[in-house]
Symmetry: C2
Subunit: 341 residues, 2 copies
DNA sequence: CTCGTCTTTGAAAGCGCTTACATCTAGTGC
DNA sequence: GCACTAGATGTAAGCGCTTTCAAAGACGAG
């Protein structure tokens, strides 16, 4: 008899039906919450389910309804609160929409393209964070077969994109540093590494232009802790002359500040340092780090929403959706420390 | 014809077979990497796959082989680096084992038990982090139907457990603080909140007993930032008299230190503060926080390994597996600051 | 050319669940 | 008691892929 001895060592819908004395259609109706079942029959089925410890095979249902009811999420890695916040927002909203989250991290994978194709066979769509660890070809290749939403990237044909605002807040941050009287500002980060950093540098330039000043060329660096220490060493060695470092993220800024302090330089007296992201440490260090806060959790939630919309309908949004960011002033730029911040 | 028009708007194995002029069995062999196919036929199939942008429906394969090839991971939440590290270790090792990761976060869910049962229909086993957000009944109920591995919890019949060492390192940490001459130590955390905190307090007590001292009753508090500020307020108000706070985690310790500084008290001169976890901020603050480092990434990897072993075989381990932890000495306990730490 | 052996390919059955439509049952009105 | 209707339940087909075993093809030896 089909299915009765199925699922090695486990019960199937057939064994539940037999035990409850009903058809498998009735068992299915009970488990799907259909109102077309009498209370008495429902009770008999649930009793059989509990006695047999029946655990449905989700794949069978997914095949029958032709949906996995799962969203894929591809991130470069998970170090730092940005990723955690994004993931929490995504998972929470996906759960509200009745979707599981299948997570894949790109770093450490020999063949990201292949891993992603494998992921795509198991989910209804994929959201991914634009980054150097994920080749540009990945979203485009995927979009031919599955709905795709790119986070912190740019929209393309068949690929929807969402991001947080970069240029305007970077302009406001830079203008704030300039208003403190600093004139030899340096932007640390690589505008060619992705649209986010590119737009932050654009804001940096725009703030200078408003004051008829010329912005310095960027000091290209990756955004890890070690790069921050190296950057500070260049300042300490006199290779880099600046009165304010506008760092493309907090991790870089915090490492710079720490190494400067070790080298006998004070922030903001000798030079100001500002960052981007408002990570937890930013408010614990002395002086507190001036930075920009991104609504990262909301970004994750929006990614789940947009992905779901693309999976369930032809609701196509062509333009990149942008969430606002917010300047957070602390003491590292030269502001008077707020004792309660 | 069955399957030819399947997968709404997408190709199926039947359309690939038709286009390549072979049977669906041959298409399946090619995609599964079987060596029972000639190179010429393989090429014809792959060409058809690319032309049709064929994306297999993973659920169909899972049903046929009766495995989802996915591990479930249930965490309370994702705030803080402990969770990120755990998740990175888990995902990385699961990927090496050919398994996807389906992530679920307990916080914010109205009915965790129901959410977990739904998760269990879609994965081959579940690893979960013991915490207050996840009812004790969850692993036991699940274990009747699916392999379960509990992280930072205790083994039970049918439930395997893995953890990091707590008591011995807590004892060493406390002994270190006592060796600095402190005698009015207070442990901040709730030993009833779970086996980890319970064991850390046990180590706190043991270190006192070695010196024929009586350990103070624990100050019960949750481990969030806000609780740390409240704890510091009690010290500042004179409600709590102590010369060293042994905090159950870094988040608490860091918030205490910040509020104490705001209140005009100095660490470690007025009182020492030590934590647990060695989060990034611990090495950025002034003074650096003395703490205990857990191999969290390895813990996540071990969870994935053990879960896989339970899914694929009857390889039953009855005892809780324990990974070692490591004391990290910085200046907050009273040690001389190491300029390079 | 025939036969034997090995390799490759195809036909058929099946994995466990969903659901449309047919059938059965219970209740009500005449 | 009979006819009708609404609600509940069952039968049968099918979702897309895997894999066993039979059949076909290719190759080499006599």
């Amino acid at each position: 008899m089909a299915g009765t001895q199925g699922q090695k060592g486990g019960a199937t819908i057939y064994s539940v039906a037999e035990r409850a004395g009903v058809s498998i259609a009735t068992v299915s109706r009970v488990l799907q919450g259909s109102d077309k079942v009498s209370a008495k029959t429902r009770q008999r089925v649930m009793t059989a389910v509990e006695e047999l410890r029946y655990m449905p095979l989700g794949a069978a249902r997914s095949l029958a309804v032709r949906h996995h009811e799962a969203h894929g999420l591809l991130l470069p890695e998970l170090s730092g609160p940005y990723y955690s916040e994004l993931l929490m927002g995504f998972e929470s909203r996906a759960a509200e929409l009745g979707q599981s989250v299948v997570l894949m991290l790109a770093e450490g994978k020999d063949d990201v393209g292949r891993a992603v194709r494998s992921l795509a066979t198991r989910v209804d769509g994929i959201a991914l964070l634009a980054s150097a660890a994920i080749p540009d070809s990945v979203p485009e290749t995927l979009a031919g077969s599955k709905p795709v939403v790119v986070i912190a990237g740019e929209a393309k044909p068949d690929v929807e994109a969402i991001t947080t605002e970069n240029a305007a807040s970077a302009k406001a941050l830079t203008a704030h540093v300039l208003a403190h009287g600093r004139r030899r500002l340096v932007f640390a980060g690589d505008p060619d590494s992705g649209p986010d950093i590119r737009d932050r540098y654009a804001g940096f330039v725009a703030a200078h232009e408003d004051l008829r000043l010329t912005a310095a060329a960027p000091v290209r660096t990756d955004l890890r802790e070690s790069a921050g220490a190296e950057l500070a060493d260049r300042v300490l060695a006199g290779e880099l002359t600046t009165d304010a470092l506008v760092c493309a993220n907090d991790e870089l800024a915090l490492a710079v500040m720490k190494r400067l302090r070790q080298g006998g330089r004070t922030v903001p007296d000798d030079l100001a340092v500002v960052g981007w992201d408002d990570v937890m440490t930013a408010r614990y260090v002395e002086p507190g780090l001036t930075t920009v806060r991104q609504p990262v959790r909301e970004l994750g939630a929006l990614a789940a929403e947009r992905l779901h919309a693309r999976i369930t309908s032809a609701d196509i949004v062509d333009e990149t959706q942008v969430l606002p960011t917010q300047l957070v002033l602390r003491a590292s730029c030269g502001c008077t420390p707020d004792p309660l911040a």
